[in-house]
């Protein structure tokens, strides 16, 4: 008999406490983000597709067109072309293309690069109407960033 009433008391008390918790939550500010209208900064550890690093000293890429990334890529989605232009000792990059439809974001290209010329981009709004839109011209993206 004693248990009967004590159960009723503790049960009723916990119910009232629970209502208090939700009532408080009702007037707290919302924590979700209304995505297309608001965006939050992506974490710096985010690993998107690769990008060439813009070297602040040279004001251009560090890539030496060795082609290691192209060779190490397990999905064969990187194309690198370097040419010796007139009056220059080293090769310079003329084409750096990434076929993102095949890329598995494994990061081997970034790890294997001898001059640390590659980084992960922070792009996550990846939607397009055609497959070709995912054939990224990485070199052109770098030129765009220079401006």
């Amino acid at each position: 008999m004693k248990q009967y009433f004590s159960e009723l008391y503790t049960g009723g008390k916990s119910l009232v406490e629970g209502l208090g918790v939700t009532m408080k939550a009702l007037f707290m500010p919302i924590v979700t983000v209304q995505y297309p209208r608001e965006e939050i900064d992506i974490t710096p550890n985010f690993r998107g597709h690769i990008d060439l690093i813009l070297d602040p000293k040279k004001n251009t890429y560090r890539c030496i067109s060795c082609g290691l990334c192209e060779k190490s890529c397990p999905s064969n989605c990187i194309t690198v072309k370097g040419e010796k232009l007139e009056g220059q000792k080293k090769k310079s990059l003329v084409l750096y293309e990434l076929d993102f439809t095949k890329c598995s974001l494994c990061g081997t290209c970034v790890e294997v690069c001898p001059v640390d010329a590659l980084e992960y981009s922070h792009e996550y709004n990846l939607a397009a109407f055609s497959k070709e839109a995912f054939h990224y011209d990485i070199l052109k993206r770098l030129e765009d960033r220079k401006k």
Binding site: G18, T22, M28, P29, I30, T32, Q34
Partner: protein, 327 residues
Amino acid sequence: METISTLPPELIRMVIAVIIIISFLFLNAIMMGYAERKIAGHVQRRPGPMEVGFHGILQMIVDGIKLVAKELLIPFNVDRTLFRVAPLLSFTPVILPLLVIPFSEKLQARDLNLGLLFIVSMGAVNVMAILVGGWGSNNKYSMFGAMRAVAQAIAYEIPILLSMLAVILMCNTFSLKEIVGAQQKVWFVFLQPVAFLIYVTAGLAETNRAPFDLPEAESELTAGFHTEYSGMGFSLFFLGEYTNMFIVASVATVLFLGGWHGPHLPYGEYLGVVWFLLKVYFLLFLMIMVRWTYPRVRFDQLLNFAWKYLVPFSFVNLLITAVVVKL
């Protein structure tokens, strides 16, 4: 003008009352649906519907249009008559109780001298609608939901009636208008707090609201008795549910919270409806908060609670009331 004057005035009055009540019923369902989703959102610290109209205010209208436009699918091998009758059975009886509820001193379609009994009996028809819908659907989930609804209704109708009886003993009438009239000085919630608590708890179970929403427990029974319903069939069940909530809350207001009584207003005999609706929507707000606070009870807990706590307490309360009234 002449045709109108030849019609019996009582008939015109009833037609107007029914039209107002049905349109109010749809408005109430829209408002409640919106409030439910908004409050659910803010309790979980998200904004709720935001896209259609200012802060999603038109969301329920858009949803309603979608439901009306949808095809009414009748599954293979169902009992066609029962399947089609069930939504109507759930929707029609909920209009009738609103005819006897006194919204204010003069805003009442009909003052039946057995008004309270009329409401209770019409509420019981809703259970039959659930049983018919569940049985007719030829689906094990619907069947389970219907069976649960019946067991639940049998268990919870008793404490509801007993807690109502306590109030009836105090004012000696079943007429809702006279019950409100008797609360001119003091609301019955202060004289009968136990009966009020029992009524509200059992009322939650009666309307199949969480935490007693076992007939439609989505995690176990997909959607319970209305699993197979789409389009208008589903929306009639939905309308029925929200109107039932409104009826339960307004009966609680009439019996315990003093109906239309409140601080004085000009044209009080009509504008008392403001106080009445404020009290009703306060109770409905509590019902929504309860839904988003508590987890669903198990079925044995549900029946244990009814038979071991609500029924004995309401009996004792009734007994004490009877003795005190006699003295």
